[in-house]
């Protein structure tokens, strides 16, 4: 019998997240994919999960999962895992995914593996591939505890593939009582980001501390607009508050795999590379010939962003016939 592989399903901005679909695809490849979907979800959620290979969805639309952090999902998931004993449960390394995996690992005393890039099942044990220390190593790990193995997987580790299918739905009861209502989500605030979202963009222009100031991003936006690209950034400039966190690429930001990634004034720290080295074409502009970003670039230009990028902008404008 194929092993049952569970996926913690997540919804963001009114849709099942792409990462959930990546995990469902992988789960269906390895065994029987089943999804735990808690809280509000779009009307076509079940259908979408089925399309990507889910055979079953454990579902509760109870608002308690939207209104209170971690604890209701933890109670519901712990009870279901106890009953159903899936072989593996997959979580995306998102805020909610990490929190639930962490809570379950402590509650079930089973541990968890984080930062997983891939995994396989061998004779009932799990072998996870981990790009350790930001990708400087590629290790494999296993969990020696009994029962369900919890894996927290990096986004974009698998390609989501629609295979078609109609999942069975099993209603799950929501936990109640004051104990699970101890952490209240009082308000959700959306911070609008200008232009295309970097997770979905096919082209990305990214800036780092080499731009010297927040104003330097205006030039990157101009280039991005010409290319139809999104703008990304390093943690250094996000921490300096030049740009919002939603633009951060890397280990603790977004993982991206665009067709082209143009890194401007970015050193190429391993934590940044962890989020973008899967890009098809990488172009880097940096004044320092020793900058590690050059080691993974298809084209590296040793030079000043303030000379190279304006010339690139001019050149693209000319090629597009915007100027002569």
């Amino acid at each position: 019998m194929p092993e049952r592989i569970w996926v913690y399903g997540e919804v963001s901005a009114g849709a099942i997240t792409t990462t959930t679909l990546e995990l469902v695809t992988k789960a269906a490849e390895v065994g029987t994919a089943e999804v735990l979907l808690l809280g509000s979800a779009p009307a076509d959620a079940i259908e979408t999960l089925g399309q990507y290979g889910a055979s079953k969805v454990f579902r509760s639309a109870d608002p308690i999962f939207d209104d209170y952090l971690i604890l209701p999902a933890l109670e519901a998931a712990a009870a279901l895992i106890g009953q159903q004993q899936p072989a593996v449960m997959l979580f995306a390394s998102t805020y909610a995914g990490r929190d639930l995996a962490a809570g379950l690992s402590a509650r079930l005393d089973c541990g968890a593996i984080t930062d997983v890039g891939d995994f396989a099942l061998r004779d009932g044990s799990v072998e996870a591939t981990i790009p350790a220390l930001g990708g400087a190593y590629q290790n494999t790990s296993t969990l020696v505890s009994e029962g369900t193995k919890l894996l927290v997987v990096r986004p974009k580790s698998f390609e989501p593939t629609a295979v078609g299918g109609h999942p069975e739905v099993e209603e799950v009861s929501a936990p109640g009582g004051a104990d699970v209502r101890r952490v209240q989500i009082a308000e959700r605030v959306d911070v609008p980001v200008e232009g295309p979202q970097i997770e979905k963009a096919l082209k990305i222009v990214a800036g780092g501390r080499g731009l010297k100031s927040a104003e330097g991003f205006a030039m990157l936006h101009e280039l991005a607009d010409l290319l139809g690209a999104a703008v990304g950034a390093t943690r250094a400039v996000v921490d300096a508050a030049w740009v919002p966190y939603s633009m951060q690429v890397g280990q603790t930001g977004k993982t991206v795999k665009p067709d082209v990634y143009i890194a401007c004034g970015i050193s190429g720290a391993i934590q940044h590379l962890a989020g973008m080295k899967g890009s098809k074409t990488i172009i880097a502009v940096n004044t320092d010939p020793e900058a590690p970003i050059f080691k993974i670039a298809d084209l590296g230009v040793i030079g000043d962003v303030y000379l190279v990028i304006p010339q690139l902008i001019q050149e693209i404008k000319q090629r597009k016939g915007l100027i002569s």
Binding site: S12, A13, T17, L69, I70, Y95, R98, D99, A101, G103, S105, A106, R107, D109, G111, A112, D115, E127, A132, L133, G135, A136, Q138, N139, T140, S141, L143, S145, R182, V183, Q184, I185, A186, R188, V189, D190, L226, R235, Y245, T252, I262, I270, K277, I282, I283, P289, K295, I296, A297, D298, L299, G300, V301, G303, D304, V308, I309, Q311, E315, I316
Partner: protein, 258 residues
């Protein structure tokens, strides 16, 4: 108000870390150590809370002997008590083992708030804080980019995919704070001098009643193999002799990207 900060002391962040293929652990000896920037942010946040509401901060770290350097840094910043979980028996702990040790140490005294960094700068598993909260049976408020304490409750702005959420809970609670939440204070010279003489309490696994429950033998996660990542071959690197921008445009056009 008693605020407890859990923070790591990590190998110098400018030195690329290496893994010992024999023990399959990060090599921590022979490298300078420093207070994890994530821990410094947590200490700063704790001090801001006690500066505003009174009380004191305790710093707890589990780590090798070299970790005292980080405890002294925390003292210099203004922390009142430092606890060092120091024992060979802790070595090789996985995240849950680490969380068990920290939770046991936290429980030794009454507290109002525990502050962690969302992830440590050397292993960034990012799951230890919630594990600690569950083991202690207290609410966890995670990924905070702003924190305020009012009366008996704590309120955070929790980072989200699309912005942030306002999340509240009653004390005692645990919060994890994101990098960049604050600019940690520079320890004043007076603090640095005083820190040298402050005592550091050390605790072993058996002091915490955890002999056999932590360390490599108790770890749920086992590293099987340590290997190199598939290499991405470097392309061409050119000096910008005034043609750099055009060269990029040529490549973009050749690959159908403009």
């Amino acid at each position: 108000m008693h605020v407890i900060v859990c923070g790591k002391v990590i190998p110098d962040t400018t030195v690329p870390l290496q893994i010992d293929p024999k023990t399959k652990r990060v090599i921590r000896s022979g490298i300078g150590h420093e207070l994890d920037p994530a821990a410094a942010g947590a200490v700063e946040e704790a001090l801001r809370i006690t500066d505003a509401h009174g009380g004191e901060v305790t710093f707890i770290t589990m780590g090798i002997a070299d970790a005292t350097i980080g405890i002294r840094k925390a003292y210099a910043m203004g922390v009142a008590n430092g606890l060092h979980l120091l024992d060979d028996a802790f070595a090789g702990s996985d995240t849950l083992g680490t969380a068990k040790a920290l939770a046991a140490a936290i429980k030794r005294s009454p507290f109002d708030l525990v502050i962690c960094g969302t992830e440590s700068s050397d292993s960034y598993s990012g799951i230890v804080p919630v594990q600690i909260a569950i083991l202690l049976g207290i609410p966890a408020l995670t990924f905070a980019k702003a924190v305020s304490v009012e009366g008996n409750s704590v309120r955070i702005q929790r980072q989200s995919e699309t912005g942030y959420s306002v999340v509240t809970a009653e004390l005692p609670a645990l919060i994890s704070v994101t990098s960049g939440i604050n600019e940690p204070r520079f320890p004043p010279l007076k603090g640095v001098m005083a820190a040298r003489k402050m005592p550091i309490e050390t605790l072993s696994a058996s002091d915490l009643g955890l002999a056999g429950a932590v360390g490599e033998s108790a770890a749920r996660e086992r590293v099987l193999t340590v290997g190199a990542p598939p290499a991405r071959t470097a392309g061409e690197v050119i000096e910008d002799g005034g043609e750099g921008g055009r060269r990029i445009a040529v490549l973009l056009a050749a690959r159908g990207l403009i």
